[in-house]
Amino acid sequence: MLAIEVSDLRKNYGDVQAVAGVSFDVREGEVYALLGENGAGKSTIVEILEGHRTASSGRVEVLGVEPATAGRDFRNRIGIVLQSSGVESEFTVREVIELYGGCYRQHLDADEVAGLVGLDEKVDARIGSLSGGQRRRVDLALGIVGKPELLFLDEPTTGFDPSARRKSWDLIERLGSAGTTVMLTTHYLDEAERLADRVGVLSRGRLIAEGTPEDLINKVSGTVVSFMLPDSVEPDEAASTFGPVLGVDVRVSGRLVEATIDHPAAAVNRLTSWALEAGVELDSLSVGRASLEDVYLALTEDEGDEQQ
């Protein structure tokens, strides 16, 4: 069964084409992550699926209905965490969880929800007194309070400290394994890699790649070699210096040099020989498996090249 079906979805805001023909499906019980640069169209797509916005054209079906005209039953089955939205700051965490929870057919207990999102200690504090990351956890709490079958999370962990992020990952993973379908957007590739069953990469309103994190990583075949640029080499000479040594194009960002290589043994050998000859140290030299981040950078670079 499909929880979400999107075909040839387009959305224009005046002259701006935010979504330019996107199709994908999300199966029931799946965790699906949308990745993409700022302004790629992630929130637009997610808010169309939630029923907050209407598509300019294309077909969208969520839990078997058209979200833009769906009613109360539909909203009872979904949970929404918007990218940004306020909550009544004069109320306490417990009060808002009870208030919002009270309009679903079934809802979780306030203490339980507060515990799940890590707000146990703040449950009787006014929302107005919470920190930014704590407020974001309130958003998450209100997203799950109605026991949704399908949960939309638009950049849910932005602003979280590392331990809060791990905690929410555990929560999302548990929801996922309990059968909740999750539609997630994120800029954190480690988040997508850890949580998502499948990932869609969006760029300028188009889906440029889709698959399981492993699929995508395998597509960028090879191993990533990275090291810090030695002082003796100027950053603008890095590409011309190390490209020939490694036998592939290198990426330079700041002082970090990276390359994705099919046969790392020989390349690393050439690299270290070069360093020994030149008498320089290669700080932080590492050889590792490609991550989703490498895939993402490779994909969006290709996109950028095509545009030029």
Binding site: Y13, E50, G51, H52, R53, T54, A68, R72, D73, R75, N76, I78, I80, L82, S84, S85, G86, V87, E88, S89, E90, F91, L99, Y100, G102, C103, Y104, R105, Q106, L142, G146
Partner: protein, 275 residues
Amino acid sequence: MPFPSTAKLIAIQTRYQLVSFWRIPVAVFFTLGLPLVMLVLLNALFGSSTTETAAGSWPTSHFYTTGLAAFTAVSATYTNLANMVPIRRDEGVLKRWRGTPLPTWMYVSGFILSAVVIAFIGVVLMLTLGVVAYGLEIDPAKMPAAFVTFVVGVSTFAALGMALASLVKSASSAAAAANATILPLAFVSNVFIQVDDAPRWIEILGSIFPLKPFVEAFQDCFAPFVEAPAFNWGSLAFIAAWGVLGLVVALRKFTWEPSGSAPRGRRARRAAVDA
């Protein structure tokens, strides 16, 4: 599991809006406190005189008490909603509610009913002060008319407040627009001054908007020279017509998204009609 009953949900929503009102001290002060302060000040300055009207005369302190009572009902509905609804919209609270299974009309009902309750409290406070401190007399035979006038008035001004909240998108401009419309109007509408022998244009100004008919109809329910039952059907119909206008505008123009990101037009209108 069924949804909670409509009555229960509306009661919860009304209670929640009331609690939120009490927790915002400026709102409480401007809606309930300020009219009481004005009453005390105006009565200390001019209360001992007599107010002459075309129909008869009565103590100015009674004129002020009843006029400001009606004005309080208007602040609690029109001004209050035109302030709070855009604030909640800008905060993104309205959008959050729209994503829940609570039907949007129930959310709006909670807002309006809470405003009516606040208006009722304000009017009762004002009249009580009038009776206790200024010897205002209450004629039970005219209370049904006072009640009906109150209900028609608050319904209309709540609808007009929602209409303003729908037309003016940002919270700061909505608050300014509410005060800029209601305060000047109060001066030509028998709230602060009896406008019997004012220039013609002032009288016309007062009579095209619903504030003066409402204030007068409400004052008639307490004026000694008006016979019971004191129903002023013409004024009530006129006020209600304004209410219908407000309702139509609110339904057509209401938006749920924060100003700036609101997708205007078809969707917003349909959403409002759904509500």
